[in-house]
Every structure is written in structure tokens, then in C-alpha cells.
Symmetry: C2
Subunit: 505 residues, 2 copies
């Protein structure tokens, strides 16, 4: 079976890695399972050096990798160069989180004798242990940031889990190359063989999710894809967690005061954000709620037309033929649901070109189940107008989202209430900014209520991303020699630990 | 429709609360949803006073409550008195966890300017927020510890979520009485109406799990019940987490050295643990692996016969007619699968009496899918013998369990390896003890790989139990007035917080 990779700019096919055979997938998982104990057993500081080695080799090959990525994605060299640099920083960041050690949640309750009617208690020690081999399904739209060496892979490795990656068909050649680089870097850094593997093809993905030795799934992509994997995992004898981070309609509210103060800046910012990377962001602001009569709706239309005329990357190409087809169909569905075009930029000719568009819809149409509240992946967004103050009920009916936002003014009376309201349905609330950038740090949350993710208590970006790939175990009255180092008496790993309820180093 | 509560000792029926009508359930959820914002908004220290008020009133009614519980469960006054005292301590414990504040995971990453090729970053602040109304399905077997006012209710309230409890049909009158006491205590402590409600009946449970305003489900009980609720929640438009803690076969390994050193003590301890409360513990040690030729198998048989003759509560009654029927059928299935009776104590006559029994099975029969590895709720356990050293492969094939254990000796060469091996398939590993007691503290873990729970990253006992009922939200560049108190600049709640990656008070 021949596989192909396509240039989005002109549809030209190039040979790509073949689908992995069932034997190859089984072999990759077996090697991963064989490596699991050793990957889990090393000090987290050691795994940090593995991640740093991958980051170093990623940076060393930046020119080649970004060129290959641009061939396969047409996302443009400036964006891809920045994305690769960010991915390298992210690999090091998760290494630093592992090395810091709080993610292990080490806790010790010493034994107690009976006291004032309270029975005697045993010695109990709790620590998070790595789950084992993790299947990672990278995204189409971030070949570095959420791809083969993206957040899921980096956080799973940091947490002590080997990974088997399913390459995304939007960039199979880049995926294979990234895996090669990582495997060489890992071997050079002393990681066991089997710490990282890659497989290709749809069937390989199904085999991974149903394989008894796979212990968790990380996924970034469409709701259809994520929910399909979640359903598939639910058919296993031993059901495993599927951490699917999916695209959502991310709502931004403009207060009357902000609309009056800076309409052009807000309109231009909105257009810049929803068309960034041709709208192929799960954090795209898909819905802008503006005060009726503010003129902001028309301002947004003018901003879109202007954006396509100033030498910007607009219009451009979508990642794959399937995405381009789904985008055209999705925009048609929005129009059929009553949304009216405010402005549309003609598609670039050839390849997977697509026409950026902004539509207006009635606030009353934004009800649960409407297609207007379903993500349409690509450079499209909806503007809806509200009269007076925005009804809280409208915001509470929005589907769960990865991000939401408010544009207000200094001392804006509407701002605190809107931030609180949006936080009920979203994983991140952005004030006077746009959600398309997701900073990587200790305090980040990239997730949100269903259907933003299948696991709203978790995040796929930020320090807490490691938690997805561990589970706690308690050891009761175990002698020191039988305990994992993290909870031994002498604290040989030098971890922050909670002892009898009190945090201590 | 008339409902009944039965005495397990003689099957005598007594009128019990009627099933809640759909309107009553809807009303309870609506009141819970109305209360949710207020319950979430108060300082955690205030909710600690609510929990303390419930604990106080529980203790004040201890004599009446334990008498009623004994009528409905036949678990005996000594056990029920201790259980009520523990439940009161547990309510206060979760209050103290909330007041300490770490559960909020408050973290602040301050904004940064661009630096050495690293782009500027926004101000990002993360805090866990309560999910909203939680449905709690208490267990049959712990009317206080895991019932209406048990771990799920206490940890959900501590985390800032109102609860709607589905009463267990094994003790409906006690459940109603406990809810009344708690409602009065909460009102007296200033909690909003709607903070705690109770509903009765199977249909009420289905309505709760599928109700759009319910945000999470806590369940303690049988695999059949827990998995049914998990499947039901998966049919919702917005799928919600179901934290089902289910019964498992908890395996205990005896090393050759321990079997040689103290066979009688181990046999007696095993019998005491698997027959405690007539074996109605999710942490019951259901499988004992002993060295072949050690005589321990026969010793266990003698210990069971002795246990029934020394004035102990053995034999006794099971909680309900359904449990008694399932127990008899389950023991038959074990025998049909080839397990042979080592010793059996005749059932007590009348009511839901049952016959405690211990069986032996071949190690080779302990394979995935065998009924020998499925929980049989009640006073039954299996002993299997191994030759030489126990194969790691046998332990790795065990289904996930809440607990496991090892009996060894000082300096036992087999102990560390067995503890490590058992920790792969279990949430808690007990050394030289029995798993039936679950200490409540900061380091406890009561959970484990599927099918021990539907959410192996979580626990239903211990400080981390609160995490199940919260989700993180990040606030990006929000002004102080629009932030929740937990992440405001002045730290008005006095929380432990991570600021720019460093923990600080």
C-alpha cells in the first residue's frame, strides 16, 4: 500500500511512510512495555536530561524540519520557526516540572497510637506512579507544538511513561523525521530502547487504543476523532483514560464600554486571531458577542477585508483536502442555519485554498444543539449582537469551551460578572486579549468542560499535564526497602513532600 | 407505591420513604443548582464549619442512629458505633483539608517581557473551581462511612459542591434520617437551602445521572451498579465524570518465610479480614496466595471453623435479600469454576443469613476473564498455592484492585519485589496487615486500576478526594477585581500558592 503526503499549496503528492503493519504496531507496543519499568524507575531529573537532549537536537535540525513542515502544512516558515522554538522550550519545561518533583504528590502519614477515642492508624505513604505505555495522537495543526514531540509526548515522558505515537496523515514525513531525531537523542542520553516509537496509518491507531498494554491515550484534534477514540477505549476489557483535547467554539464578549472605546482595535484583533494559521486553532475565537448598535459588526467586516490586502498570509491554504472540504461544507451549514455573510475573502487558487469569512447570527439562534455552536475548523467566525446587557442565560447555555474572553475597559462595570460567567463554561478566560496563544507555564489550563475535552479536570498544556499519565498508589506499613524512593524515610530524591499534613522539602 | 425496609435478621418489613417523584427529583436538583454559586463562593473555612456542624449533630444522635442502622443492616452496634464516630471525624477532616486550601491548586505566573528569543507572556492564574451539583450514590455496606454523609458527600461539600444523594435501598429510613440531621445542621450553620438533598428510588437515580444540571457522580458499590451509571452518563449531551468505586478481588501474597514463621497468625488474620462485616467490604481480601506445602491452606480452613465458635459475630446476615441471593449464586459459580471448599460455616437460620466459606483454586485458573477473579460480595475467599517463587506474570494478569498485600518477614528477600509487583495493579499495598481498614488522612489512596474504579487517577478516601469535584480554570490578564479571591494579588484567602513556579504561603 502506497502512502502519500500532499503539498497544501498545489496538491502535489509525495511518497510518505507506509501504514504500519499489525506486527509492526504490536512490536512497537511490546518494546514500549518492555521499557516501561526502566523509564518509570529513573529519577525525574534523569528524564529531564532526556527531554533536553531531544530539544537540543530539534533545534539543531530546525532549518530542515521547518522546511519539511512547510512543504506538508503550508503554515509558513515564520510561524513554523517560532513553533519549533516553542516546542523545544516546552520539552525542557516539562523536564523541569518533573525534576521539581511536586507532580509526584509524595505524602506520608506516620503511624499513630490510639488517642482520645481515635483508633490507631497505620503508616500510609502515597505517590503518583507512571501508568505505562501511552498512545499519543498528535494534531494536524501544530506539527511541532502538538505533534510527535508536542505537549502529550513531552508530558508523558516527563511523567515516566514511554510513548507510542500515531503520526498524523497531514504531515507523515515530518512525523517520521521527528521520531527519528527523538529516538537518536534518547539513545544518546541513555534512555531505554522503546522509550519512543511511531506508527503510521488509521488501523495502527485503532490497534493502539485497543491494545492491552497501552495504559492511556493523549489526543489533540477534532471532536469527531477524539470522541471516536474515547468510545473505542470504552470497549476495552480494562478501560483506560482518553485525554482528548478537542476544538470548540470559543466565545468572546465585548462590553458596551470597550466597543465604544476601541472598536477598530477590537475588530482587527478579532480578525487577526480567528484567521491566524488560516483559523486552524482549537482556541480560535469562533463567536464574538457585541453590543447592538455599536457598529462593531460592520467594523469586523471591514477588518477582514483589510487584513487580506496588506500583504498578510491571508488567504492561504488549509492543511489537508479533507479539512478544506469540511470547511466549505461547514460554512455552507452555518449559512443554512441562518448566519449571513458580513465579509468574505476569495480563496487563493489551487491546492487546499479556502475563503476566510465572517458571518452574523441572531443571539436567539445560539441555543444548545445548533450548528452555530459547533466548531467549524478554519478561518470562519460568527458575530452576534446583544441589546443592553448580555443575558447570563445565554452564556450559561454555551457548550463547554477551551477558552473564552472579554474585552472591557478600566473599571468596566460589566467585566467582573462576565469573567465569572464565562469561567463556568470554559477552561481559560482571557481579558482584553485573544485566546489563540497558549502560554506554557505552571499556571496554565488548556482544557474545559465537555466537549472541550473528555477529561475536564485535566490539562494538556502546563505543569499539570503530567498528572494525566500517573495514578496514585498508597503503601501501608511497608518497610523502607520496599518503598519507592519518592516516599522513603531519607527522601533520597529530595522531593517536596507532605508529611502528616504539612508540606516540607 | 409503598416502599419497605427489611430487617436482615428476620426479613420483617417496615414502611420506608416512598420513591421520589420526577417532580421531586427535579425540584431537588433545581434547588441544588440555585445553591451552587453560593456554596462555591464562600471561603473554604466556612464550609469547614458546616461540615463540623453536621459532625456534631451526627454524634449527638449517635444512639438513635446506630440503633436504626442496626435494624436495617444487622451490622451490629459495636461496628456501627465505631463507624459513626469515624464518619464524624471524616466530615471534620475534609473540612480541614478545604480550610488548608492546597486543594485549590492556586498558581500564578506573572506576565513577562520578551527575553532572549522567548516571547512575552501574559499573566496567567489557575485555580480549581467547584463543578456544581454532585449526585452521590452511597453504599449499602457502610451506612455511615460511605452512606448519605460519607466520603463522597463530605468531600464534595468541602470542595464547594452541593449534593443530591440517592438513598440506598438497604437502609432507606436511616438515609432519610441522616439527611434530615444534615439539613438542619447546615441551615443552622448558615449554608444555603439546597446544599444537601436526598431522593429515593431507582428511577430517581437515573434521573439524577442524566439531569443536565448534575455535574458529577460519586458512587460506591457493585461493579454492575457503578458501570451502569458510568454508561448512562456517557449518553448525556454533556458527559460528566462518574467516580465509581467498585468492589474488586484484593489479592494477598504470603511469602515462604512468612508462611514458615507465623502460619496461624496469618490464617486467623485472613479469616478475620475476609469475614469482617460478613465479608461486605470492597477491600475484602478475596484471594490469598500461599506457598505450596506450607500447610497454610489447611490452617485457613481451621481458622474459619474456629472463628465461628468463639462467640464472634460469625455467621451473620447479609444486608439485603438481593445480596444474599447473589452471594449464594456467586459461591456456586466459584465451585462450578473448579474451586473446592476448604471449610464452610453453616448459615444462621432466618432472614438474610449466609454461610461463610473459604475455597481453594489452582493458580493456573487465575486468568483474565475467569469468575475466580471476579468479586463475590460476602464472606467468601479463595486460597491458591504457588510453587517456589510466585511468577510475576500471575500478578500482572490480576484485574485492577483497590488493595493488595504481602505478608513477609523482617529482611524477607521476596518482599520488595512483591510490593512493587502488586503496586502495578492496585491502588494500595498493605504489608503485614489486612486491607479491610482504610485510614482517612492526607496520604490515603482508595482507588485503583479499572475495574477497581472508573477513574484510577482519583481517590474516594483521603485529602485528594476533593479533587474529583473541581476543575481548573485559568484567568489570563484579568484585573484583580475580576479574579476569584484565591488568585487575587493580596491572597485574601491566605492560601498556599505557587507563584512563578515556586510554592509560597
Amino acid at each position: 500500500m502506497t502512502s502519500l503526503s500532499f503539498s497544501p499549496r498545489n496538491g502535489t503528492p509525495v511518497p510518505a511512510p507506509s501504514p504500519s503493519s499489525p506486527e509492526e504496531v504490536a512490536g512497537a507496543v511490546a518494546a514500549s512495555a518492555d521499557a516501561a519499568d526502566a523509564v518509570a524507575a529513573v529519577r525525574p531529573q534523569v528524564r529531564a536530561t532526556w527531554l533536553a537532549a531531544i530539544a537540543r537536537d530539534l533545534e539543531a535540525s530546525a532549518a530542515d524540519l521547518t522546511a519539511l513542515a512547510d512543504e506538508e502544512t503550508a503554515l509558513g516558515l515564520p510561524r513554523l520557526t517560532a513553533e519549533l522554538a516553542g516546542a523545544a522550550r516546552t520539552l525542557r519545561f516539562y523536564g523541569s516540572v518533573a525534576a521539581e518533583g511536586s507532580y509526584l504528590g509524595a505524602a506520608i502519614d506516620h503511624a499513630s497510637h490510639p488517642d482520645r477515642g481515635i483508633p490507631a492508624r497505620p503508616d500510609v505513604r502515597r505517590v503518583r506512579v507512571p501508568l505505562g505505555p501511552v498512545a499519543v495522537f498528535g494534531a494536524s495543526n501544530f506539527p511541532f507544538g502538538f505533534g510527535v514531540l508536542g505537549h502529550d509526548t513531552a508530558s508523558a515522558l516527563a511523567a515516566g511513561c514511554p510513548v507510542v505515537i500515531k503520526a498524523h496523515p497531514a504531515h507523515p514525513r515530518l512525523s517520521a523525521r521527528l521520531a527519528e531525531i527523538a529516538q537518536r537523542a534518547l539513545a544518546g542520553a541513555g534512555a531505554p530502547a522503546g522509550t519512543l516509537a511511531i506508527v503510521h496509518g488509521f488501523d495502527a491507531g485503532v490497534q493502539l487504543v485497543t491494545h492491552p498494554r497501552i495504559t492511556a491515550v493523549g489526543f489533540t484534534g477534532s471532536p469527531a476523532g477524539g470522541l471516536a477514540l474515547w468510545r473505542l477505549a470504552a470497549t476495552r476489557r480494562e478501560v483506560i483514560p482518553v485525554y482528548a483535547e478537542m476544538g470548540t467554539v470559543n466565545t468572546i464578549v465585548v462590553t458596551p464600554a470597550a466597543a465604544a472605546e476601541r472598536p477598530r482595535e477590537i475588530a482587527a484583533g478579532f480578525v487577526g486571531s480567528f484567521t491566524l494559521g488560516m483559523g486552524q486553532y482549537c482556541t480560535k475565537p469562533g463567536l464574538l458577542l457585541v453590543p447592538a448598535g455599536s457598529g462593531l459588526t460592520e467594523e469586523v467586516g471591514r477588518a477582514l477585508e483589510a487584513a487580506a490586502q496588506d500583504g498578510s498570509p491571508l488567504p492561504g491554504w488549509l492543511l489537508t483536502e479533507a479539512i478544506a472540504g469540511a470547511y466549505a461544507a461547514g460554512v455552507r451549514q452555518l449559512e443554512e442555519a441562518g448566519a449571513k455573510v458580513i465579509a468574505r475573502v476569495p480563496a487563493v487558487a489551487g491546492g487546499w485554498g479556502a475563503a476566510p469569512v465572517v458571518l452574523r447570527a441572531d443571539l436567539g439562534g445560539l441555543v444548545a444543539g445548533s450548528v452555530l455552536l459547533e466548531e467549524c475548523f478554519g478561518p470562519v467566525a460568527i458575530v452576534a449582537e446583544y441589546d443592553g446587557r448580555i443575558p447570563g442565560a445565554v452564556l450559561r447555555e454555551l457548550p463547554g469551551s477551551l477558552a473564552a474572553g472579554v474585552h472591557g475597559t478600566d473599571g468596566d462595570p460589566d467585566l467582573p460578572g462576565l469573567v465569572a460567567e464565562l469561567s463556568r463554561r470554559s477552561g481559560r478566560v482571557v481579558v482584553n486579549g485573544w485566546p489563540t496563544g497558549v502560554a506554557v507555564g505552571w499556571a496554565q489550563q488548556h482544557g474545559g468542560p465537555w466537549p472541550a475535552t473528555t477529561a475536564p479536570a485535566h490539562t494538556s498544556v502546563g505543569a499539570a499535564a503530567l498528572d494525566r499519565f500517573t495514578r496514585p498508589v498508597a503503601f501501608q506499613d511497608a518497610p523502607d526497602a520496599a518503598l519507592p524512593p519518592a516516599v522513603r524515610d531519607g527522601n533520597p530524591w529530595g522531593l517536596p513532600r507532605r508529611v502528616n499534613g504539612i508540606m516540607s522539602q
